[in-house]
């Protein structure tokens, strides 16, 4: 008997003195933990999906900037956005509007080039809906030799 573990050697009376949990409290705690995990999973899935799926505007802006700039200057005098952008630069399954503006002599923004693309990244005549995901960045825009204005490159991305 001396080889048995202490638990095995104790009596029924001794085991009955161990700490326990009331059944109702245990059920409530298990239920609440399940609710907490569900809440976490719900929020996490929403947040994670929002950070990946709804940011094509920023990725598209980077891609458009890379495709249209040379030495940090955007020049669309000879090749417009419709010539420069296609499936390699634009996200599939989304509609995209790209706009390039500069400050004019009167101090207001004037559009240098604008193009919209359909879901297959080909030029299409579309109008972005209000509230669509938008991102933009300041850029230098070459209007002529020696005339490089500060301007903005703006990208709007939306789906149906």
């Amino acid at each position: 008997m001396s080889d048995l573990p202490p638990d095995a050697s104790c009596s029924w009376f001794e085991r009955d003195r161990r700490g326990g949990t009331e059944p109702l409290a245990a059920l409530v705690s298990v239920a609440a933990i399940c609710v907490a995990i569900s809440v976490y999973a719900g929020f996490a899935s929403i947040t994670l999906s929002a950070s990946t799926d709804s940011s094509p505007d920023r990725a598209t802006l980077d891609s458009v900037w890379t495709a249209t700039s040379d030495d940090g200057i955007v020049d669309t005098r000879e090749r417009t956005f419709e010539d420069l952008l296609g499936p390699a630069e634009l996200p599939r399954g989304y509609r995209v509007a790209v706009t390039l503006t500069v400050v004019g002599e009167d101090g207001h923004l004037s559009t240098v080039d604008r193009a919209t693309f359909g879901e297959n990244a080909t030029p299409a005549d579309l109008e972005p809906p209000p509230g669509a995901d938008t991102d933009d960045r300041p850029v230098a825009v070459r209007l002529d030799e020696g005339d490089i204005r500060p301007g903005r490159l703006r990208v709007v991305v939306w789906d149906e």
Partner: protein
């Protein structure tokens, strides 16, 4: 005996559950806060655009004319050989250069009568620049501030600051990019270091004082000659060029201790105009003024020479989420 068992009460379990739920809420809210439209690279993009682009800025010289002087008739004075249209200026250059020029133009020289601005370029310059920059650089998701600072040496009382865009809030996360651009004045750091090295074995034993004076001389020469050097021809003409350069001499006379408008009056008169004598006198006065400040500011003349920055303007581009 069952009453002797240790039981987790409903209250204990409830406390534990509250802790678990609180952890989940905190974690979820942290995840949610991490998602932002703000791009930390916006400051980089803005600085790149400032450096790569050019702007045309139009302004008027009329407000910088010292009409109170007999040498500079007011625009509406019948003796004036110019009108308002002659005082309009248009300048085309790098956007970063314009920002730097605005800082230099705002350089204030503290005097007993108040602060004077001998390097001012005219009204409308900074305002027009601000309008253009705000329209072109401010994004839909972030706000921008561009602040340019020119100072002849680090910590100088003479300094010019030009701010564009929105005031920077202190309670938001910000991205800052710092860059420099050449000011319109010559760089004097090398001259200052060389001047310090060239002072040896002074007769009166005040070697340190002479070294500070040598640094101050290099700085004063850069400021005065960089602004007023080679202006003999302008002083001898009679048109708007003379009015503008005489006004600048007069404002320098206000800014420099030991020099007054009356004391340079004779050498500003057209028949006897002497640009070399005027600039030498202004540079001497400014050098004396700066030597005392340099000695008070720096621990050694070498440190003072290394801190000379007449030739550059420091520009900070700050962006933050709206």
């Amino acid at each position: 005996m069952s009453e002797d068992r240790a039981l987790s009460s409903v209250a204990d379990v409830s406390v534990a559950l509250v802790v678990v739920l609180a952890c989940v809420v905190v974690f979820v809210s942290f995840l949610d806060a991490g998602e932002s439209e703000y791009d930390p690279a916006a400051a980089d993009h803005t600085a790149e655009t400032l450096g790569a682009s050019t702007l045309n800025v139009t302004y008027s010289l009329e407000p910088v004319l010292e009409n109170g002087s007999e040498h500079v008739p007011a625009v509406d004075d019948e003796r004036a050989p110019y009108d308002s249209a002659d005082l309009q200026r248009s300048t085309h250059g790098s956007t970063l250069g314009h920002v730097g020029r605005a800082a230099l133009a705002a350089a204030g020289f503290p005097t007993e009568q108040g602060v004077t601005y001998p390097l001012a370029v005219g009204t409308g310059y900074a305002e027009t620049l601000d309008e253009r920059l705000v329209v072109s650089l401010v994004g839909s998701n972030f706000a921008t501030n561009v602040t340019a600072v020119w100072e002849p040496f680090e910590g100088a009382s003479v300094r010019g600051i030009a701010r564009f865009g929105e005031p920077i809030p202190h309670d938001v996360e910000r991205s800052v990019v710092r860059t420099t651009t050449a000011s319109e004045l010559p760089a004097a750091q090398e001259d200052a270091v060389a001047a310090v090295e060239s002072v040896h074995n002074t007769t009166d034993g005040n070697e340190s004082g002479e070294k500070y004076a040598a640094v101050a001389r290099a700085v004063a020469d850069a400021i005065v000659n960089g602004t007023l050097g080679d202006t003999q021809r302008e002083l001898e003409t009679s048109g708007v060029e003379r009015a503008v350069i005489v006004s600048r001499y007069l404002r320098f006379a206000d800014a420099v201790e030991g020099v007054t408008r009356g004391s340079i009056h004779e050498k500003l008169a057209r028949p006897r105009a002497d640009a070399a004598a005027l600039t030498a006198r202004l540079a001497d006065g400014l050098a004396r003024q700066l030597a005392a400040e340099l000695a008070d500011t720096f621990e050694s003349p070498h440190e003072a020479a290394a801190a000379v920055s007449t030739g550059e303007v420091t520009i900070a581009v700050t962006t933050w989420e709206r």
